[in-house]
């Protein structure tokens, strides 16, 4: 058993730390304050290979593994949660379905430019009436015959879509029929941003992650060629479950990075800030908070890395990913909240950044399955019962 990172993973981490400190950290505040998507920063990620980390080179990726990807999302989120979710949503949700279910032609046309970072990707699953209950998808796709297999006409809308308006390629799910048991037949489609009948609606004003774009998608008689169906008809559900399993690792990594940032800030502050003539970290009340944060963060890291490692080994990682996501996100909320407590009044001030960490960390308990959904997934796997 070797718990050390490989030289490549260490080098990736060190390179990212350099890059983030020099090229990214100086521009965070201005983007967060203006709620502006960091187009320039994102454009630097592609050439470095950071927008297709776990995909093979022939698919435009960097050819690294899930562990490398998790480390990257962790390090990015440690510096900037907004950038973390932009990369995670693009990589896991945008590129992921194409990697898993794309035909060679679809991969060549869509995945390669995305994994190279030339085109940003987004995944449209959530709808106003279909959040945790994705089976409640109302967006429809109706087939119309014609040359080359005809077209699918999409109608409906999506909500809370990360990278909305920034993406050039969207993968969206829609009902293509009803199964014999009455459940929805869900299929996935690849959509160019400029497809007639497709438009991006309102961008949300969020509690945190202010520099990431989250918005609505609308389809109004949106016409998609049949060869842009992703995976087999009715296969959207399967693909989506697979993608969410992987996506949970990246949200776990994002939560981990934010928790680590909270710990880093608290450690420095507890050593430097003096009250009653001594560093506040020398009072048990503060020291124990930092000790718990450090312990939680380490446990979360082991869980996230292990889930990534299982995936890289080609083993079943669904349970590990749900556990890692659940644990890391709850650690993240706790650690970022405690970081404010360690900072006292200063923690409530924007300049000290820890309040941003808490606002950003809260998302990790909601996105890609709420904590309740994770417990459902874990409960079902552990008990082998249909827990509802």
């Amino acid at each position: 058993m070797d718990l050390d990172l490989s030289p490549e993973h260490s080098l990736l981490r060190d390179t990212l730390r350099d890059f983030l400190a020099n090229e990214v950290a100086p521009v965070i505040d201005e983007h967060e304050r203006a709620r502006r998507f960091p187009t320039e920063v994102v454009s630097k990620l592609g050439p470095m290979g950071l927008l297709g980390i776990p995909y093979p080179e022939e698919e435009g990726g960097a050819g690294l593994d899930t562990l490398a990807y998790a480390i990257a999302v962790e390090e990015i989120s440690r510096v900037w949660g907004s950038l973390g979710i932009i990369v995670a949503a693009h990589t896991s949700l945008g590129c992921g379905p194409l990697h898993v279910a794309g035909t060679p032609e679809q991969k060549e046309r869509y995945l390669v430019p995305m994994a190279q970072g030339k085109v940003i990707g987004a995944y449209g699953l959530t709808e106003p009436e279909a959040g945790s209950d994705s089976g409640g998808t109302r967006t429809t796709a109706t087939h119309q015959g014609g040359p080359d297999g005809g077209v699918w006409i999409l109608n409906g809308g999506k909500r809370f879509i990360t990278n909305a308006g920034q993406a050039g390629t969207y993968v969206v799910t829609a009902r293509t029929g009803t199964r014999e048991d009455g459940s929805a037949e869900i299929s996935a489609f690849i959509l160019d941003a400029d497809t007639p009948g497709f438009k991006v609606g309102r961008l949300e004003e969020k509690m945190g992650l202010h520099a990431s774009a989250t918005g609505e998608l609308f389809f109004e008689d949106c016409c998609v060629p049949a060869n842009q169906m992703l995976g087999p008809r009715g296969g959207g559900w399967r693909t989506f479950l697979q993608i969410l399993d992987g996506g949970r690792i990246s949200i776990g990594a994002m939560a981990l990075g934010l928790a680590q940032a909270a710990l880093d800030a608290s450690t420095i502050y507890a050593r430097e800030r003096r009250q009653f003539g001594r560093p506040i970290g020398s009072f048990q009340g503060v020291a124990f908070m930092v000790a718990d944060m450090a312990t939680d963060v380490e446990a979360a890291r082991q869980m996230v890395y292990r889930a990534a490692w299982l995936k890289d080994q080609g083993r079943d990682y669904g349970l590990a990913a749900a556990q890692a996501k659940l644990f890391a996100s709850e650690v993240s909320k706790r650690a970022t909240n405690d970081a404010i407590q360690v900072h006292g009044g200063y923690g409530y001030i924007e300049e000290y950044k820890v309040e941003r960490y808490l606002r950003d960390a809260k998302l990790t308990e909601l996105g890609e399955g709420t904590s309740q959904i994770q417990r459902l997934v874990i409960g079902r796997k552990v008990l082998d019962l249909r827990v509802v």
Partner: protein, 259 residues
Amino acid sequence: MRILVLLKAVPVVGTERLDDALRTDRSVALEANGNDEYVLEAALKLTEAHGGEVTLLSVGPPGAMDPLRKALAMGATRAVHVADEAMRGSCYVGTARVLEAALRRLEYDLVFAGADTSDGQGGVIAPALAARLGLPYLSYASRIEPAPDGRTVTIRRLRPGGYDVLEAPMPALVMGTQVLGEPRYPSLRGIMQARNKEIRTWTLADLGLDARSVGAGAATTRVLRAEPPAQRAGATIIREAPETAVAQVIDLLAARRLI
């Protein structure tokens, strides 16, 4: 074109400390000397534009492997690492002796060295090597241009208020500055490719050197004492809004008769 880049593994800047013998402790985490990365970048750009390969040469402890891997990930072709416990405590003469022996076993058209190192600043290794190997020595380069025929190299050498343009036949040794341009970050693809690149490890025996000719025993100089810089007086930090702060700074400087 074959460019050989001398790369020194130094303690991560800011973490330097001395060992019991008052020498820089190099058992800590090491990184490539900053200036060496600038000449590496110049070497990579030249070979990308004109073809050729970049070989790294580093003399140092096992920890030098990490910065060598990073330099390979940036795009260098191969690395040669001279590591031998007997070298510990070498003075500049001993280090130059080892590097000279290694260079005599390698092929190159140009040798690049950084202007100085963050942990030593003796500034003598590059010129000493040029002297020992009989190579033209071009220092403080801000631009390096090999001639298309591969026979000469032209550099701009910085001097106060401008630069000189110098030419020398190749092979030559060029000591470069940060004006050459910012080093790149390794790409992820570069990191993966570096896994399969050659890192040759040589000992003193491989170089035909007698262990007694280097190391602490053969050192021509001895460190008697090492003193930290004198403590500076506490800084005054002004945190007011600019309009108030400016007035306060002016008062402060005026009170000390600095303006």
